[in-house]
Amino acid sequence: MKKLLIYLKDYKKETVFAPLFKMLEATFELFVPLVMAAIIDRGIGQADTGYVLKMGGILVALGLIGLLCSITAQYFAAKAAVGFSTGLKHALFDHIQSLSFTEIDTLGTSTLITRMTSDVNQVQNGVNMVLRLFLRSPFIVFGAMIMAFTIDGKAAMIFVVTIPLLAVVVFGIMALTMPMYKKVQAGLDAVLGATRENLTGARVIRAFHKEEEETERFEEKNDVLTHLQLVVGRISALTNPVTYIIINAATILLLYTGAVRVDNGSITQGEVVALVNYMSQILVELIKLANLIITITKALACANRIEAVFEVESSMAWRDGASVEGAAAEEKRLTELDNAAAGDNRTGKNHGEHTDFAVVFDHVHLTYKGAGAESLSDIHIQVPKGQTVGIIGGTGSGKSSLVNMIPRFYDATAGTVRVDGRDVKTYGMEELREKIGIVLQKAVLFRGTIRDNLLWGNGSATDEELWEALRLAQAKEFVETKEGRLDAPVAQEGRNLSGGQRQRLTIARALVAKPEILILDDSASALDYATDAALRRALKELPGEPTVFIVSQRASSIRHADQIIVLEDGEMAGCGTHEELLADCEVYQEIYYSQFERQADGGR
């Protein structure tokens, strides 16, 4: 929580004034029993009606001043709390955007979303309540005690004993039940889990006729939950009766002491009434305080979760765009070495005219955070500019991992990835990612229009450029039939479009940016074969001859690539053209023949 408090710094004035005015209000409230005592002792005692009226006026005035103080306090509290959460949310959003893919993977986006929404709201609520009540309630409790001392020291001693006793009871019961409520929550989660499971798995559960067994399991869980709730309930049900008895016992004592003190002339009748009033004020505030503590505990738990997000630092350091010349020179030297080495390499054989590589993987290894085994091992590839590279392999073979390293979504655990001859770590973030257009596996679009989405690639693209990108991505036809064409609405996540349409639009979005390197990460999987083929033809004609990476499970999608990389369990099982691989790469053969009829004469 401490670290979050800096978001209150723009609201120092409000943060101080809110509780201050609350205390003022409380002070005026504390005068009421004194005025009442005066009415009884002087007004009634001396039958002075004028005095009674005057004091009545003072009571109204005290109430009015209290009201004004309180409204002021509420305003400041609301302003500080809302301002606090606004600043907090801004910082949190900014921070989340600065995290690298590794951190996003470990945290998971769904938790990030709840932390930014409901957790922040809880904290805002907590701040608001603390500013309003946290000082007021103890102030009234202790204020009432002090006021009692001004009336009579001896009677006030009863307050001195009662207040800690009440505190022990109220907070003791809370301390006892709080951990039990956590168990109740866990029990409720179990009941919820069982319910959800039986909905999502309805078909399988029925297919295996497990209905009765599942019902038994549910009822067991439900019973555990109910039992827990009853146990906790029995304890917390004690709070009210016990505090009630303590307060009233104190009142009885107070009346007795009062009687003795009045009898020997130390205090007046009216003052006894005032003392009793102070005691009941304490009871009211104590209940408020107990409720407040619950709100605060919740808010603190949420604050800790938010803080945990702030504590996660991006594991990836980006260089500022400017100061890279030295590094660039160093990289250039290395590239020359690579080029020399590549002279007798198969890539050189195919494209002898290229001396410059768009992308180089130099013995790259990748282990994801928290993973036991390497996801990529010793990947060594050189891709000349303008080449089309196909990447194929089974599920989990590391295809996506490989291409995700080019825009530096993940850093290599060993080895280097070079783009245009420079280590990706020497680039500024925008500098690198502007070169690269990547179409991710999951076709994600954002709420807005088709145009809005395409402009993500390049904010200043003209309509003509957008249509050209759509044409290349094989999306022109269906966009033309949409009402509003480029201005046709796109729902959140693009839910109003089919999977194939979404994929083509995400491809178009990447093309709008006219990247030097285009990566399609299994992004044609929802397209039928004919469209897929048309797309591949269009990619060949791309202006500016970008280097293209195509990741696919389909052999047909990559067989015409200049270079095909075959991955198995994170290792390169082969690299070469279709013909070369078909001749000597066993893994490739297996994949290919699993999808294509083996020619009668080509069988093993």
């Binding site: 209000e25 009415i39 007004g43 009634i44 002075d48 009674v52 009226l53 004091m55 009545g56 009571l59 005290l62 209290g66 009201l67 309180s70 509420q74 609301a78 809302v82 606004t86 949310k89 801004h90 959003f93 989340i96 955007q97 986006t109 990030l112 979303i113 409720l188 319910t195 909905l199 999502t200 078909r203 399988v204 559960i205 297919a207 006729h209 497990k210 019902t215 049900a237 004690l238 009766p241 008895i245 016992a249 009142t251 009885i252 009687a259 009045v262 009898d263 009748q269 006894v272 089974g394 599920t395 989990g396 825009p407 954002f446 996540e493 083929a533 893994v587 297996e590 699993s594 999808q595």
Partner: protein
């Protein structure tokens, strides 16, 4: 369901606990009466403490003793009431949840498919909780509130009419103030929740798809859009929170006015000798308490309505029509050969949108039937009908000559082994999931099944092998691994008929080919229905059903269909078009 009907249902659940309810009501009455009596006794003591030397200690002691007894009795009554309420509330919640769950198990799939899981879960969890809190707590609050008000009025009237008049006349003011503020703030809260919804939507999009945002270096734009909404939210939140927070100070002020009124009028009466100082002090503590139940009751009414709305949603679920019950003389399918006949089957999910019309099919025991066709043509629907997840609208489906509506669901489904495209695993160990169809299977049988489905090698590598606990819906397993487990599950029980719905869609083609071999052994002598988009896996079927728009447009084996040069031939060609 009308509110009255809902309320009747609620009473039905409470009836079982009428003893607790009665006890609770009695104890509430006792608590309130004693609580109200306490200030009167306090007043009497004060009247006995007039001044130096004018204290009647005998009287004081007598009353104080009575007060002590009353304080303890009140505490006890309150505790008993709380415990009764708890017991009643939690038991009713338990009953309702059990009933809701039992209903979920017998709901037709039609209902489950048509409702989002989250919605149903929230009925069973959140709505039931809110109902319990709102209705039962609300009820006790309402009840004690009303008794407090009536009791206070009675006590006050018995002491002094004029002072009571002051209290009764001024108190409604706090009602008006609270109502006025609530009305004014309603639109502000509405605006706040709308803006908050807008912000949540943006957060879900941008944070949920953070990878795309970063891939396009779109962070700054996203932050700008966020800040714009954030700023608007700040404005309307401030207004909503501030204005609504005026309720408490305002009602407290009204309360203070009541207090001052009672003080002045009471004191004037006391001067004239109309009431004693003790009675005045009693009035003052009533004045302090009197407005509280009013404020509570106004809150309780909305809470009660809300609770009834929640209850209505739960009861709607509980009263949902269950699947057609089995006829009393339902037969048990035994020693199934695997002859399946569909005759003149009509089916549609929505009444006016025809899907399957006049479907006829006769499958001999041990035959392999492949169903192919474009997405949405009704392939999965056929399986829904075979398994009797849905009932046909007209026509009939027979297994070994018996109409499947006349046999027990259990025996029908027992005879099918099913692997669906959507893999579903329950929370538990890998073994729990595999033995679902045959709880008594031995370790050797489990491993043999896992080896046959090529799942053994990955299970072996998990941290605890077959005892590895997986979370809800498979947790950290990949889609392909989950599918392998689902296949193992069927491999273990080997029923006489099989249904494979895109069973290998998430498995890479190499592994798939290996599994196909296992499937081929498994399908030997078993009637099987296979849905797949990879035509290569279907080629070996005895009968291929080519579906389009809910109809079987072609039927035959691979060779004859190819020769026909129809729809199947076209599909097959497109697979090989490069």
């Amino acid at each position: 369901m009308g509110q009255r009907e809902t309320f009747r249902r609620v009473l039905h659940y409470i009836r079982k606990y009428w003893l607790y309810l009665t006890a609770s009501i009695v104890m509430a009455t006792v608590t309130v009466a004693l609580t109200l009596y306490f200030p009167i006794l306090t007043g009497r003591v004060i009247d006995l403490v007039l001044g130096p030397g004018q204290v009647d200690f005998g009287g004081v002691f007598a009353i104080l003793k009575l007060m002590a007894v009353i304080a303890v009795a009140t505490g006890l009554a309150q505790w008993v009431m709380n415990v009764c309420n708890n017991k009643m509330t939690y038991r009713i919640v338990q009953d309702i949840r059990n009933e809701a769950f039992q209903k979920i198990e017998i709901l037709p799939l039609k209902y489950i498919d048509a409702h989002s899981y989250g919605e149903v879960v929230s009925r069973v969890i959140a709505d039931v909780d809110q109902f319990a809190d709102g209705l039962l707590m609300g009820f006790t609050q309402f009840f004690t509130g009303v008794i407090t008000i009536l009791g206070t009025l009675g006590f006050m009237l018995s002491v002094n009419v004029a002072v009571t008049g002051v209290v009764v006349l001024v108190t409604p003011l706090s009602f008006f103030v609270a109502g006025f503020i609530a009305k004014k703030t309603f639109t502000m809260f509405h605006l706040q929740s709308e803006t908050r919804g807008e912000q949540t939507a943006l957060i879900e999009e941008m944070v949920g798809n953070q990878k795309v945002v970063q891939a396009f270096s779109h962070e700054d734009e996203a932050l700008d859009a966020f800040d714009e909404i954030n700023g608007r939210l700040q404005d309307c939140s401030l207004r909503a929170i501030f204005f609504s927070s005026l309720t408490n100070p305002s009602t407290r002020f009204v309360n203070n006015l009541v207090y001052a009124g009672v003080a002045v009028v009471g004191a004037v009466y006391a001067v004239r000798g109309g009431i004693s100082v003790g009675q005045l002090s009693c009035f003052l503590s009533y004045a302090n308490q009197y407005t509280k139940p009013f404020n509570e009751i106004s809150g309780v009414v909305t809470e009660l309505q809300n609770a009834l709305a929640c209850a209505a949603r739960i009861f709607a679920l509980i009263e949902e029509e269950p699947q057609t019950p089995e006829p009393e003389n339902a037969k048990t399918l035994k020693d199934v050969a695997g002859r399946v006949e569909l005759s003149h089957v009509d089916f549609s999910y929505v009444p006016d949108k025809k899907l399957i019309t006049d479907l006829n099919l006769a499958v001999k025991p041990g035959q392999r039937v492949a169903i192919v066709g474009p997405t949405g043509c009704g392939k999965t629907t056929v399986i829904n009908l075979l398994m009797r997840f849905y009932d046909v609208n007209s026509g009939k489906i027979c297994v070994d000559g018996a109409d499947i509506r006349e046999v027990t669901r259990k025996s029908l489904r027992e005879n099918y082994g099913m692997v669906l495209q959507e893999t579903w695993l329950k929370a538990g160990t890998i073994r729990d999931n595999i033995v679902m169809g045959r709880p008594g299977a031995t370790e050797e049988e489990v491993i043999a099944a896992a080896k046959a489905s090529h799942a053994h090698s990955f299970i072996k590598r998990l941290s605890k092998g077959y005892d590895t606990v997986i979370g809800e819906d498979g947790g950290s397993l990949s889609q392909g691994q989950k599918q392998l487990l689902c296949i193992t599950r069927v491999m273990l029980c080997l029923p006489p008929m099989l249904i494979l719905d895109e069973a290998t869609s998430s498995i890479d083609t190499r592994t798939e080919i290996r599994i196909q071999k296992a499937f081929a052994t498994m399908m030997q002598g078993r009637t099987s229905f296979i849905v797949a988009h990879r035509l290569s896996t279907i080629r070996e079927a005895d009968v291929i059903l080519v579906m389009k728009d809910g109809n079987i447009i072609e039927q035959g084996n691979h060779e004859t269909l190819l020769q026909k040069k129809g729809f199947y031939a076209k599909l097959y060609e497109s697979q090989f078009a490069v």
